[in-house]
């Protein structure tokens, strides 16, 4: 679809805002509506749009397949790692209360807030990469067949 100037220009224009919005939803998730799931999908949609318009190879050069695949795992590891950190700090699994700390109070979140923040980050990463991988998997098939 790279031949259609309107699509090309508009999408080029849109993609940064989509990404930005995705980040907003991600990081605002602990205060308002939003969170990792939504943010992940929004974020992935930017990449998918890029792929749709500029072709799969272009998208893959931005987000290489192997890299995205590893990100899926990374997100999950962040999520569960938080849980294990809580155990290590003497709480129950995912008991964020133990994440209290006194480094840069008022700037760095802590306690429940920090826990949710990190977990959401993990979720966001995983969802983003899963969405991209699904897109890659299907669009690559089309070409081979």
């Amino acid at each position: 679809m790279i031949d259609f100037p309107i699509i090309r220009v508009v999408s080029k224009f849109m993609i940064p805002y989509i990404l930005l919005f995705g980040l907003y939803v991600q990081f605002h998730g602990d205060f308002g509506p939003g969170g990792g799931f939504q943010a992940g999908v929004i974020f992935a949609s930017a990449i998918i749009l890029y792929g749709l318009v500029f072709g799969l190879p272009a998208a893959k050069s931005v987000a290489p397949e192997w890299f995205v695949e590893k990100l899926i795992a990374l997100g999950l590891v962040i999520y569960a790692g938080t849980g294990f950190t809580c155990i290590a700090l003497g709480g129950n699994f995912l008991d964020y209360d133990v994440l209290d700390h006194h480094v840069l109070p008022g700037f760095l979140p802590h306690g429940q807030h920090l826990g949710i923040f990190v977990v959401e980050l993990g979720v966001g990463i995983t969802v983003t990469s899963v969405m991209i991988v699904i897109y890659y998997a299907f669009s690559a098939r089309e070409r081979r067949a």
């Binding site: 205060f31 429940q112 807030h113 299907f138 067949a145």
Partner: protein, 179 residues
């Protein structure tokens, strides 16, 4: 059944219609893609059931989405510990016991709200919040649904590559020929 109750329960009618439509498509369609679409509609109906049950309406009070207003420290913040722990909780200074008290308090609201969604919640707060829990649950269910759909589509792609068709009858026919 009076018209009031009939239309008052409109969300259920929608859910039932969607559900049966989806189910019918799954059963009747020989086209695998259509079957998966049917499956999606079927699942969506359940999502709707959950989400509508969390919604609260009240003729007098203001009912709003469970979003914290006026910054932190409001003890009537929403909570959720279910599903994938995507709850949006923002208690900054609370020790865990206080937190649990607050949660209990909030929960009392929520379980009331759970009763069909149309009942009045008793007056604990000036502002009524819709129950966020069903939405959160559905977030998980939607994710599951996406995974299922993606997997189903991936399988269909493979089937199509192996058999050259996505019509169930033709596939079975091809298998019979093979044997």
């Amino acid at each position: 059944m009076t018209p009031e109750t009939f239309f008052g329960l409109f969300n259920y009618w929608i859910v039932i219609c969607l559900m049966m439509t989806g189910f019918y498509i799954v059963i009747s369609s020989g086209n695998l893609i259509k079957t998966v679409i049917g499956l999606n509609i079927f699942q969506t109906s359940v999502f709707l059931l959950y989400i509508t049950m969390g919604k609260l309406t009240d003729p007098v009070k203001r009912v709003t989405a469970p979003i914290l207003e006026g910054g932190h420290g409001d003890s009537h913040g929403d909570h959720s510990a279910h599903g994938e722990h995507v709850a949006q909780v923002s208690f900054e200074e609370h020790a865990s016991e206080q937190l649990h008290d607050a949660v209990k308090h909030a929960h009392a609201d929520l379980s009331e709200a759970g009763h069909g969604g149309a009942e009045h919640a008793h007056e604990v707060a000036e502002v009524l919040y819709s129950n966020p829990l069903p939405s959160v649950l559905m977030l998980t269910a939607i994710v599951v649904g996406i995974a299922t759909t993606a997997l189903a589509l991936a399988l269909i792609v493979r089937i199509r590559e192996d058999y050259g068709t996505i019509e169930e009858d033709e596939i079975l026919e091809l298998d019979k020929e093979l044997q």
